[in-house]
Symmetry: C2
Subunit: 334 residues, 2 copies
């Protein structure tokens, strides 16, 4: 069973993945993802993954066979285990608990040759529906406090398989990054009685200089204080705390915004590695006037080094106004 | 002038380095550090850096000439500028100020072929004295609230020049990572009336299973909840909040502990890229019963990806007890 351990000072949780402990010599060479080798996410290899927990398929197809468009399976090497209780306990000055949680992979298409941005808007929308359906299912399990949905694209962004996929990890605690974001948003709300994200959307739509694109439901912006060059956020225009509570018709517009954004980043930065992360309210909160779900996309172009680790500051060589102007200029390519 | 911008939600500061703004195509290829090419940090090339702010030299040598053992120079491409006032101002919902600060490079040896761990204990001690002397000098400037001292070793850890060096950045605000650490330590102190770091040192010395080495003044441990495989911390055994207030005789023991630790990591992980960061109390605080300075060394063996970015959680495949056992086992090589 993996162990969740808490740093006694900074409160940071760490998953000690005891099941797959690594000896020093196992780090000596970067693992290489075989190009064109065997791929467990390709159509026809469904038996090489754990049984699917969700798939959108043609009516005549069967579970764990061909004929799917989006398929969700448990991670074969999960960071957390679905079985068991938390068993929180102390160890002198320290705290730990069992590494209980869910770790799933959302395979976004059966086609190995495509990236998420190569899919049609309709196909991207189905990926978003899969995110939603999995959250709705997992939130029934009261052990889980937060579901983190993210994508690692490219080896430099942490992807270990080439076939395009996203991941979700259901956690038994609300992570600190989410806590900090909620805390900041709550402080602002307490002072202003307005949602800070709503204020950001309003200001960015009005100013326009950091706006990349918008549609009826979403604004895509270069944030004012981006950690990374070409960091890009997608925010709903109307206040909503939980991604999974979006109105049904909003997913099509979100898919369009996400797809166009990824396509433009792809052109601007020549298929960059990137991470995207869904920021949404914890499962433990019913709704919130101060929190506003959104997606943060971070192209990985620079390295995080000692300064960033030590300070939580970032040095960004590209002003967001320049990035937004460049990405706006690619509108004709959509 | 670089701009310091604050994220309005999470309170994270970002340095927008407007002077060296990058266009999208400048990220397309990883910069390669030329091996054996021209090096501005080598003895004889002193005129290729900004004039030195400190050097330990032979009595007959001259400033900005040969004959130094450790040399500190302003960064030629500083993230922050030393001149000017902060000029804090708002921009709608956002906050910014001028990127005022100091950014210096500590060249640890004139010998290009050596790493920090190849130096003698006496030479490492001089590097630590240089850290101290620069902090004592810069803290006279009341614009600065914190001095972050760190080292990036190897390209994967963010080093852009091969010649071994550390860096310091003097900041006009206390960084959030430092705030979080102080906050956690203060909470613990308020509850227990003991320093959490003192408790950690006591428990680790007693238990021994995460202890790597110790000498009269320092304990070197694998922390209980390490973010990264083989993450290693060096803590003073006796409570002290500021690195620069160490007793004179302690620097020799710190140099010995740091050098031995780096040498063992070097053997265990085959010259890994690493960052180390000095954690010390802000300049604005006189002393503290709850904060305890220390050094955190992080070998860069795994990648930070979407999960870590989104949660602040880390997945570590090497239990610290295994790492400590392995590093203890290298004692005969010292």
């Amino acid at each position: 069973m993996p162990e969740l351990r808490k740093d006694p000072v900074i409160g940071r949780w760490v998953i000690i993945a005891t099941e797959r402990a690594k000896r020093p010599d196992e780090f000596k060479h970067d693992k290489i993802v075989p190009k064109g080798g065997f791929c467990p996410f390709c159509s026809g290899n469904e038996d090489k993954t754990p049984p699917e927990v969700l798939a959108y398929r043609t009516p005549e197809s069967h579970a764990n066979g061909k004929g799917w468009r989006v398929r969700v399976v448990p991670n074969k090497f999960p960071a957390l285990m679905i079985e068991g209780g938390l068993n929180r306990e102390g160890d002198g000055v320290y705290d730990k608990m069992n590494g209980v949680g869910a770790h799933e992979v959302i395979v976004e298409t059966p086609d190995h040759s495509k990236s998420l941005c190569d899919l049609t808007a309709k196909e991207v929308e189905e990926v978003l529906w899969a995110f939603r359906d999995r959250i709705l299912d997992l939130r029934k399990d009261t052990r889980f406090k937060y579901i983190l949905l993210f994508k690692n694209h490219g080896a430099a962004a942490g992807a270990s398989l080439e076939h395009t996929h996203s991941q979700l990890i259901a956690l038994p605690v609300v992570p600190r990054t989410v806590h900090s974001e909620m805390y900041g948003a709550r402080e602002y709300y307490n002072f202003k009685e307005r949602c800070v994200f709503c204020d950001v959307v309003r200001q960015e739509l009005e100013a326009g200089k950091r706006l990349i694109l918008e549609n009826a439901d979403f604004a895509v912006i270069s944030p004012y204080a981006p950690r990374f060059p070409f960091e890009t956020w997608i925010l709903p225009k109307v206040h909503d705390a939980h991604f999974e509570d979006c109105k049904t018709n909003e997913y099509a517009n979100l898919a369009a915004a996400l797809r166009t954004t990824l396509r433009r980043l792809n052109i601007a930065l020549n298929n960059p590695p990137y991470n995207f992360i869904l920021h949404t309210l914890p499962l433990t909160e019913k709704s919130s006037p101060y929190y506003h779900w959104h997606i943060e996309i971070m192209p990985i172009l620079t390295r995080v080094a000692g300064f960033e680790w030590g300070s939580g500051f970032y040095i960004n060589p590209t002003p967001p106004e320049d990035a937004a102007e460049f990405l706006r200029g690619l509108a004709s390519e959509d």
